[in-house]
């Protein structure tokens, strides 16, 4: 029997009993839709969590800091790792790492026209900037040729305030800080004041060549410059630190050599500095590592910790979220699965009834030459078609339900928190494909028993002349 004939015959047989077929399909529709919608909620949950996490920092970047690692009880584990050029080379050699940049941090008072403020400057390798996922909304990224040029985070402008204007508009205090357009900072000259530990002061002009976009909130309050420039400023700030510890007076405290914007308190690093004989003034504050993808990030971040580094990345926190969403998906999918199982029983029931009605017909087909395989195929095909029709309609219903859920939740979120709306129900292509294949499979499985009964019908029933 040809496949086309089989398909046409099965399809025709199904529609001889329209109401029954439609009702049976309806079971599959509901079953498929409930599985798909349930799983889509689990996926949507993960996607929206990932999205909000990505806003706080790139999932492909690992920050490596100096200092000891501590176990759960607060005991140091392993030796303290230093951040040197050798470290940079070691990190570069790890497979899966696409870019590495050493980082110096300095902070200082700054002046932008009449406005006063402070700057937290991060010195990185300009050549690696693009690889490290820096993206600008205005202007450009740094090039290795730039001298004392910076790229500013989107919120940096809000670090500056006009003292006179603030005094004039004293009554506006309650309204909180005014949001300023980040683009205002572009091509402006910022004058940074730094002091060294010997009490000397130096002013440095920095030219803003670019403004970062808002994809990475972790970077929005900092400005980025070439590591060579920052190193020179830092060298100035370090002057006197080694010669006389007594000079660490109140003046010097204004200069904070911060240990990166993220986690590690520099107290540990700088505290230990005094106790050791070796010169650590040229050590980097941290090292930024870019990996190929999230999976690599998790892996490499873990490996670095095993090597004794103080490594941390946004992606590390993903694992917990992924576990939660997997559990959610399993529970939700399970609920849908029960519905689909009931639908499968419906298919089996329908097919058995259909075989009862068509016993004579099956006998006739056997007499005129239908093989076992033909009979089995016809009934399996009918069952599979019920599954397929139900699956297609169920998928359509799922998309509709998903749309409605997302609209309602978007409304709710916008009214409640005012945050950006994310879809809480997401149906990826693989889920749609899976749903179709699975519903056909359910149909086939439900059809197995009826089909085996159909095969056993004796051709003699066609002969009986009652």
């Amino acid at each position: 029997m040809r496949k086309r004939d089989l398909l046409l015959m099965a399809n025709k047989n199904l529609w001889r009993r329209k109401a029954r077929t439609i009702l049976t399909c309806l079971g599959v529709v509901i079953g498929t839709a409930s599985i798909v919608v349930m799983i889509s909620l689990g996926i949507g949950l993960r996607v929206s969590m990932e999205k909000s996490m990505a806003q706080w920092g790139s999932l492909n970047i690992i920050n490596v800091h100096p200092g000891m690692r501590y176990d759960e009880n607060g005991n140091p584990t392993g030796e303290e790792k230093r951040m040197t050029d050798e470290t940079v080379e070691e990190l570069k050699a790890i497979p899966g790492v696409t870019a590495v940049s050493p980082v110096y941090n300095i902070d200082g008072e700054a002046q932008l026209g009449r406005k006063k403020g402070y700057l937290s400057i991060v010195g990185i390798d300009p050549a690696a900037m693009e690889e490290l996922e820096f993206t600008v909304s205005h202007g450009r990224l740094l090039t290795p040729e730039d001298r004392f040029a910076i790229v500013a985070g989107s919120q940096v402008i809000n670090n500056f305030w006009d003292e006179r204007a603030a005094r004039r508009g004293g009554g506006m205090m309650g309204e909180g800080p005014q949001q300023q357009d980040p683009a205002e900072l572009l091509e402006q000259r910022i004058r940074l004041t730094i002091r060294n530990q010997a009490g000397n002061e130096r002013k440095q002009n920095l030219f803003v060549v670019g403004i970062l976009d808002e994809t990475n909130m972790d970077r929005s309050w900092q400005v980025y410059g070439s590591i060579h420039d920052i190193k020179r400023m830092r060298d100035f700030m370090m002057q006197g630190a080694n010669s006389s510890k007594q000079m660490l007076g109140p003046m010097a405290k204004e200069v904070i050599i911060s240990g990166g914007g993220v986690m590690v308190s520099t107290g540990r690093a700088s505290g230990s500095r005094g106790n050791r004989r070796e010169d650590r003034s040229n050590d980097y504050n941290s090292i930024m590592v870019r990996t190929k993808d999230v999976a690599q990030t998790k892996e490499i971040s873990k490996e670095l910790r095993e090597r004794g580094y103080n490594a941390w990345s946004m992606a590390d926190s993903l694992e917990g979220i992924e576990n939660t969403s997997r559990t959610m998906q399993a529970i939700l999918g399970g609920i849908g699965g029960i519905t689909l199982f009931v639908a499968a029983l419906g298919i089996t029931n329908t097919m058995i009834m259909s075989i009862y009605e068509r016993t004579r017909e099956i006998g006739i087909m056997k007499v005129i030459g239908a093989s076992f395989a033909d009979i089995r195929s016809i009934f399996l095909m009918e069952a599979a078609l019920i599954g397929l029709f139900g699956g297609i309609l169920g998928l359509g219903l799922s998309y509709g339900a998903s749309e409605i859920i997302n609209r309602i939740s978007a409304d709710y979120i916008q009214r409640g928190m005012g945050g950006p709306a994310t879809n809480i129900s997401v149906i990826p292509v693989w889920l749609a494909g899976f749903a179709l294949v699975f519903s056909i499979f359910i149909g086939l499985a439900a059809g197995l028993y009826p089909a085996s009964r159909a095969i056993r019908v004796s051709p003699m029933v066609a002969i009986r002349n009652e």
Partner: protein
């Protein structure tokens, strides 16, 4: 008449168990039917003629004995392969036509070719041709319940012959038809069989019908008496 029989029945015995009692339906049937013959089996109802026909066509297995069709021992053919064998060797005409009600005349007639795997265009052409011969050229798209008994039996004849089988079995083919239609159907059946060089084994309780055959075999109580 060719010397080699197309169908041989050897000592066919069939017993049914009804409750604890064994009932003998066929008590050792021996029969040779030669290629091209038209044979009628005549007997009263309950004499076992239909059972014999079913066994000869491979629809039922005998308790004992062999059926040999064209050199093939039927009891050596498994139930699975039997359908393919029937498609090739056997056509069957029933008393109650046994058409599939959801299919039209053409679809019913060409159903065996569907199982044979013949492409649609080819089989519809053949079906149209055969149904035209049967006088149903203008009823191709009619469903069985829109047709008379004679017309339905014509479809059934076309279906039995569409694969050009060696031997046609007919179980009371005119049992449900009036005398005029009976004559028409019998003439059609026999002339087609002869034209195609096929063999016909027909079972009936009606002597008038049986007389159309080359040879009449009478059965009483599971035995051939003549």
């Amino acid at each position: 008449m060719s010397p080699k029989p197309i169908l041989q029945a050897r000592e066919i015995i069939k017993k049914y168990r009804i409750g604890t009692q064994a009932v003998s339906v066929l008590n050792g049937i021996n029969l040779d039917i030669y290629h091209g013959e038209v044979v009628s089996i005549l007997g009263k109802s309950g004499c076992g003629k239909t059972t014999f026909l079913n066994i000869a066509a491979g629809l039922e297995r005998p308790t004992k004995g062999d059926i040999i069709i064209d050199g093939h021992y039927l009891n050596k053919i498994s139930e699975k392969r039997m359908s393919a064998f029937r498609r090739k060797y056997i056509g069957f005409v029933f008393q109650l036509y046994n058409l599939i009600p959801s299919m039209n005349a053409l679809e019913n007639a060409i159903l065996p070719m569907v199982f044979e795997g013949v492409p649609q265009k080819e089989r519809e052409e053949k079906g149209r041709e055969l149904l035209t011969i049967m006088g149903l050229g203008d009823r191709l798209k009619h469903k069985p319940n829109e047709l008379s008994g004679g017309q339905r039996q014509r479809i059934s004849l076309a279906r039995a012959m569409i694969n050009n089988p060696r031997i046609i079995f007919a179980d009371e083919p005119t049992g449900n038809l009036d005398s005029r239609t009976t004559e028409e159907i019998l003439n059609l059946l026999i002339s087609t069989v002869r034209e195609n060089g096929q063999t016909l084994l027909m079972v009936t309780h009606d002597l008038e019908v049986a007389r159309h055959g080359d040879r009449i075999i009478e059965m009483v109580d599971g035995r051939i008496i003549n």
